[in-house]
Symmetry: C2
Subunit: 488 residues, 2 copies
Amino acid sequence: MSDIPGRPPESSGPDRELATPIPERAPAGSGALPDERVESPGVIAPSFMARFDEALEENDIVFLRSAVTELHPADAADLLEHLSPDAFWKALHLLDGDLPAEALTELSDDSRRTALEALSEEGLAGIIETLDSDDASFILNDLDDERRSRILARVSASDRAAIESSLAFDEESAGRLMQRDFVAAPVFWSVGQTIDHMRSVDPDDLPDTFFEIYIVDPAFRLQGVVSVSRLLRSPREAALKDLMKDASVSIRPEMDQEEVAFLFQQYNLASAPVVDEAGRLTGMITIDDMVDVIQMENREDLLALSGVSEAGANQTVMSAVRARAPWLAINLVTAFCASLVVGLFHASIEKIVALAILMPVVAGLCGNAGSQALAVTVRAIADRDLEGPLVVRAIRREALTAICNGLIIASLAAFGSWVWFQDPLLSLVIGAAMVFTFLWAGLVGILAPLVLKTFGADPAVASSVFVLTSIDLMGFFVFLGLASIVLL
Amino acid sequence: MSDIPGRPPESSGPDRELATPIPERAPAGSGALPDERVESPGVIAPSFMARFDEALEENDIVFLRSAVTELHPADAADLLEHLSPDAFWKALHLLDGDLPAEALTELSDDSRRTALEALSEEGLAGIIETLDSDDASFILNDLDDERRSRILARVSASDRAAIESSLAFDEESAGRLMQRDFVAAPVFWSVGQTIDHMRSVDPDDLPDTFFEIYIVDPAFRLQGVVSVSRLLRSPREAALKDLMKDASVSIRPEMDQEEVAFLFQQYNLASAPVVDEAGRLTGMITIDDMVDVIQMENREDLLALSGVSEAGANQTVMSAVRARAPWLAINLVTAFCASLVVGLFHASIEKIVALAILMPVVAGLCGNAGSQALAVTVRAIADRDLEGPLVVRAIRREALTAICNGLIIASLAAFGSWVWFQDPLLSLVIGAAMVFTFLWAGLVGILAPLVLKTFGADPAVASSVFVLTSIDLMGFFVFLGLASIVLL
């Protein structure tokens, strides 16, 4: 709660400063403008970074504490992540329990795990206690069992129970994501009764933000939903049961988070109730958690298509090597398979070196066409655009697109090779091989992820290496094989 | 508004049916269970699809109309997109003004454009009039100027003015995305006055859903924000100015939508006010629009990295060819450059065919390492994780990761080539060439998108082709060059 701020005169700064985040709490008595600390959202001003570094060196705990508490938690997390690894550890160690709980949840995966090691058990218990149960279980999930139980022993019994029941659900399930604080009202209440109840109840028992109120019967079974904006607009005497709508989706605690995220997108939800098997209301999921899930799933797809299993701003070299080397090793095996195919035709290559020279054109172009089909398919699967009759239509489109692009690109390649080698037969060979391999690339690009999906595997992971290798194999085989027949 | 539904007994169906979307309006008197029509969210039941197809053939407009209005607009859009192109056109033509406006906005880009051609001007004007100005301008944006003004001439003057002022902003700006319906209250009002006002005002003048109320001074300059949940919890006599907080971000109508989306993610916003240069409140942006933007930007990055400029469930072959052929054509030029490099060493290849045979290993592996670095970098740029001191740290990490992975993979490749060709010098050549090219791949993979970003270009677009080509060029040059020196 703040008084009306003396709004500083609008400056007409450069475009990127259009968005100056304003800290939730104005710095106590400092009068500092927010842009002194945050240049643009997510970008800490270098001068403030330097001051923070200095304070850290001088163990100026008062400055450190005020810096991280006055910034928005997301910006505080960014500030800490910009520190060198040693400074990060020291800052966390000094701040300990004074670290704002929300800043801890905003850290990237790698930094959060480091932070958990730097914080004391007492400090962590204090942080855990201020968090909603979904965030608390998110944090505790990274700890080993022993440390986790020692920390849980320090928090209040009711918080512990909520956190433990959250941890009982699978890691990427709705049960983990939902918060146990929500507003429920009996079906026979009026608008006035509901508002009066909310005014009288301890604010700690209500969620910070909520967009809808859940209407339940005496057995706590969900009967309907009233949006907060509707509640506000309705007369005091209106009955909740006349205002309520059916929940637009029904989410169970066991549901996978990716499924939940899809529901939020498909039906434009801001929040949704979670009900158990018996129809009893057990929690609420809000859109901000879903935005994080959506981003994470998108990131995973993008990285997986390039053979990276994990990445982050503060990833260590060891962790980056672990996240990438396995795919490279698999690719090494598949690349040697491509070499074996080339090796089959070593006699032809010995006689016509032009074949070796043109190999990169065949492999490169057809590989690119395959990547295109693969990316389009992975995206369509994620958007659930490949269902029912759309599958057949998409396969036909990929095939026709491959043939069209194949004809265009193969003619150009054939022309290029004619200019270079003046050998019409060689041009014919490369052209025909490319049209055929383009078609192969288009079909493998769409079929491989669809088949993987049918077998329950993630279509983004693994598709890439195998699709590209099969295209290399086919491209080399057709090009060199055709050349051996036609040219020798 | 519905009565309390007689909840059917919970069935313990298969997992995928955990999420049964419940239509907002129960089908009038049909008693049909929702799962008869929608198998799982976004997936229309084949039996319902077949019935719809049949009704379309029989011109059963009553059935068509009830089908699209009773489904959630997102599901209605999915239903229409599952039709064949001819049937889609016919359905739109028959439905015309009866098509639910929200279903039109939920269609994919390609389908929406087709729909706009199938709908009459009268029908479109009716649809436009029921939409918020942001959605209306989104739809009208696809039309040519003449048709757009003929349709605008049919809508009410006030709607026309709102839509025209929305269209005056750039296509991907906050001004386009914001809605002009929001709830503002003078700074001197109490909670009770605010609630009474909302109860008395015409519901059409309020947004359907809102999460916060904006507090303004007499000149309509934004003074603060009160969340609806806070308003509900506060006593009637409380003054708005004591409850309000500063807006957590300041968004201008000119701001790019990607920037706005980042703010929503960074600060976990559900909605945000848009203020003009003079600080006057001009609109409101809500999270559901931002989720669409986030998804779109993610999709663009994923597709761009594979050289696809556009894709969609109902994309035509022509449009798919147009979206992919240009990148293939560029790749053709760059692939011939790689061939030129190989050509430089044709004499060496003639003597040692093993070089041609091993070329795919060098190019494939180093290309993969480059893709990995590129994907990690593009993602980090999108997350604003590459700012200030993090840039130098990330470059160092990529270099060290490349050297580690290079040493691992190159030793394995050298071993493989020794097993095959029993030539220690050849193994040495391929190993050394690969370590060097891995380092090159890692550095180009991170530096190319960073440089593109510095020059204001989209780091995802264009990076891929150039990064991979530069790696091919370097890999062939070093491998074949080193071989020519060492082995000949």
